[in-house]
C-alpha cells in the first residue's frame, strides 16, 4: 500500500467529509507527518514496502502520531534499525514527551532506556525489581538491578 494509506488507517475519521474519504486531504496530512519525521520517500504515494526498515518504522510511527494519541506505548521501537534511524526515532520520542504526551517504552537496550526516560523501571523474571527516578541515571546501578533481580 502507498504510504498515505498506511499513515491514515488508524485515523480515517479526520479525512472524511460527509461520510466519504478525501484522499487528497489524506495526502496532505501524510505529507506533513512525513516531513516532521524526515521520512525518505518520493511522496505519500510511494509504496511503503519499498522503503528501508527505518523509514518503514517511521511510517508506522506516523500512523499513531496521526491519531494525536495522548498516551503512547513503544515496544522495542528501534530494534534492528541503523544508528541514524535510531537517533531519529529517539529524537521523535523526545519531542512527543516534550509536547506533553505520556510515553511508555519497553526496551532491552540499556543506553536507549537511560537516554530517553525520566523514570526507569527494571523487570527481572517477570517482576518489577527496581525503580530509578530523575536522570542522569547510574548505568552500573541499573545494570546490577537487571542482572541480580531482587537479590541485590
Amino acid at each position: 500500500m502507498p504510504i498515505f494509506k498506511n499513515v491514515t488507517l488508524a485515523s480515517l475519521d479526520r479525512d472524511m467529509v460527509a461520510g466519504t474519504l478525501r484522499p487528497q486531504r489524506e495526502r496532505v496530512r501524510t505529507r506533513r507527518l512525513m516531513d516532521g519525521l524526515a521520512v525518505k520517500a518520493t511522496g505519500p504515494d510511494a509504496l511503503t514496502r519499498t522503503l528501508s526498515g527505518g523509514n518503514q518504522q517511521k511510517v508506522a510511527l506516523a500512523k499513531w502520531l496521526a491519531t494525536d494519541a495522548r498516551v503512547l506505548l513503544f515496544d522495542e521501537p528501534t530494534q534492528g534499525l541503523d544508528v541514524r534511524a535510531k537517533a531519529d526515532i529517539h529524537r521523535i520520542i523526545h519531542g512527543l514527551a516534550e509536547a506533553g504526551a505520556a510515553v511508555l517504552i519497553v526496551s532491552s537496550d540499556l543506553e536507549e532506556a537511560l537516554g530517553l526516560a525520566e523514570r526507569v523501571l527494571v523487570m527481572h523474571s517477570g517482576r518489577l525489581v527496581a525503580e530509578f527516578r530523575d536522570p542522569p541515571f547510574e548505568p552500573e546501578a541499573v545494570m546490577e538491578a537487571i542482572t541480580m533481580g531482587d537479590q541485590a
Partner: protein, 338 residues
Amino acid sequence: MTERSDDASSSERTTSRPRFWSRIDVGNLGPLIALIVMFVIYSTLTPNFLTVSNITNVLVQSAALTVLAAGQTFPVLSAGLDLSQGSIVSLVSVVTAGTILNFGLVPGLIAGVATGVAVGLLSGVLVGLARIQPFIVTLGMLYVGSGAAMVFTDGSVIFGLPEPAVSRFFWLGGGFIGPIPVPVLIAAIVVALIYFVLNYTRFGRHVYAVGGNAQVAHMSGVPVAWVKVGIYMISGGLAGLGGILLSARVISGQPLLGSGDLLLLSIGAVIIGGTSIFGGEGGVLRTVVGVLVIAFMVNGLNLLAISTFMQSIIVGAIIIASVWANTIRSRRKVGGAP
C-alpha cells in the same frame, strides 16, 4: 481508460499534490496497452472487428462477466478468492426464474440478488469469523451452490415465464436504452459504484488494509473479520446480479448456467487486469481492462476463425504472462528502492 496508479513512480518531492501523470505507473498500463495492440492487430486482420455492432455485441456478452469480476475484485484484493461465483450464478438463475414464475418479476430479482448475498454471507462468516481459508470455504460453497441449484429444480430447466414479466426480464439482459444496451449500462453502474466504494469509503480502505497485512490492519483498529464478511457478501451479491443478467438473456432458470468457465474467467479477468493475488494492490478499473482483454481477445479469434480449443490455450497463456509481468515489476520496484 487509464487507471490512477497507487504509487508515484516519478519524483514530485515538494508538492503534496502529485500531478496526474506522475501518479500513473507505467507498469500498470500493461493490460491496457495489450488491449490497444489487440485492437490494432484485429482491425487490420479483419474488417468485421472494428464495427459498432461487433463492439456492442462483445460488450453485451461481457456485461455479466464484468459484474462478476467486479465482485471478485474484493476477495482478491483482500488476498482471498471466491470460487463459489459460478455456482451462485446457477443457483440464482433457478431461484430468480422460479420466483418470477410464482410471484412476479420484482420479487424474482430481489430473491436472486438476496440468494447471492446470502451465499456470500455464509462464506464470509466462515472465512472471517471461523477463520477458514477462503479457498476451502468457497470451494465447499461451489459444491453446495451447484447442488442446491439442482435440488431446487430437480435438475430441470425452468421455462415458460409468464408475460409481461418475461419481456421486462429479457429487457434487463438484451434491451436497449437509446443506443446503449441495458446490461452494459448495468455493468457500468456497478463498476462506478465499486470504484467509489473502494476509493472513497472507510470499508474500501479497510479491504486494501486487510489484503496488505491483516495483522497490521487488526492492530490499526480495522474490524478484519467483519470486513471479510462484507467482502464475500459483495462478491456473492454481484455474482447473483451477474446470474440475473445471464438468465435474462435466456429467459429461463438454468441449474447449469454458471457451471462453465465463468468462474475461471472472473478470476482470470481480475488477475489479467493486474490486481495482486497477494492482496492490497489493484482496483476495479484494472478488472474492467482484464475483462475487455479476455472478451476482445476471444472475439477477435472467433472472427479469424481460430478454434475455441486454441482460444483456451491463448487465454491461459495470457493469465500466466500477466502474473509473470506483475512479479517482475514488483521485484524490480523493491530492488530499486531508495
